[in-house]
Amino acid sequence: MIPAQFDYLAPTSLEEALAALAESDDAKVIAGGQSLLPVLRMRLNAPELVIDIGKIDALRGVRDDGDALVIGALTTHHELLNDPLVAEHALLLTKAAHELADPQIRHLGTFGGALVHADPAGDLGAPVLALGAEFVIAGSGGTRTVGADDFFVDLFETAVGEDEILTEVRVPKRSGWGAHYEKFVRVAHQWPIVAVAATVRLDGGSIAEARIGLTNMGSIPLRARGVEQALVGASPSEDGVAAAAERAAEGTSPPSDLNGSSEYRQHLAKVLTRRAVAAAARH
């Protein structure tokens, strides 16, 4: 399968990229291309212009910024997976990156690209939501910051506007928190039917704080706030968290498709939440 024809630009600065975006009314930004190329090849989209931001080195890498980590949009999944700062302060991202796609895709696919693509079955949405990340978005008028709760708008739609580029994601440090990403698939490297991202802080042998994100339980990633509240004070075993996990599907209306019905997904969310929280508490 071959994409439809397009013009191609590979700017080396963010300013150039933003100017090119503003000038065209039918442009797509490509980073690693691991989400966009399948779309172009299946001709689900056929933009006139593709702007390759892969050569803008300023958008790459992870840095320590006091109480937050700043992850450049072009950081690959492979870099994320192996970054010691991420493992120390945002273990949930390390865990999710480990489950994301396969090694070849992780080598090219980018953190920012996957988030802006906003596939409801994508593996990074629920973790960034659970971690309370902030998104730094650049446009020709300057940059703005959007919180995780406002970033995901709808299926394949985020707060990033037509003429804007996501440059970095600020993740508040949760040093010492346990984390786990529990993904349910039928075959290897598949999109999750449902997945649960859990990160917890223990205090004196019980759960002091928990943050839970759900993947593929709706058109955007969701926080399981009922579970989070119910987990406070719970004992961190599977039995201890089971009652709280029962609330995982509250308020959700997941899709029905060939992989499972809406009811099945709601059932999965509870089971996977129980497993994810218990595993998070062990790490």
Binding site: M1, I2, P3, A4, Q5, F6, D7, Y8, A10, I30, G33, Q34, L37, P38, L40, R41, V50, D52, G54, H78, A101, D102, P103, Q104, I105, H107, L108, A188, H189
Partner: protein
Amino acid sequence: MAKISLTVDGEKVSDEVEPRMLLVHYLREKLGRTGTVVGCDTSNCGACTVHLNGRSVKSCNVLAVQADGAEVTTIEGLAANGQLHAVQEAFRECHGLQCGFCTPGMIMQSVDLLNENPHPTEAEVRFGLEGNLCRCTGYHNIVKSVLYAAEHGSAHSEGAQA
């Protein structure tokens, strides 16, 4: 058209290509390096795996223009001085293939895996090959081949993959 210059299997090449051309088509149709094959064409099977700047990628899911300035290694660039790479040798030794269609990609991914983790466990091998599908072998002998290469890898393999 866009102009690209890159190194493929140690050879410098320059071409004018359509921006929409996929790297795998560039390798096969422009350069005649048909050792890299297209299995699924949907970035699932890994048969088209090559190394881009030393890391494995699925060349059906990369534009040729994205490889501008890069170094690409295909299955055809693995053997050095007429000697098979240790992983190629291991696939032969352990019968790690039947029809052979997945093999170029399996080998390229296995080389990447061993570069990162020279002494993997069996579970790590299976996880590291999760992006590569085989319709014939049931994977057993492929995993055996990778473990064999890890055990018997020679200095030669390091040199060929530098």
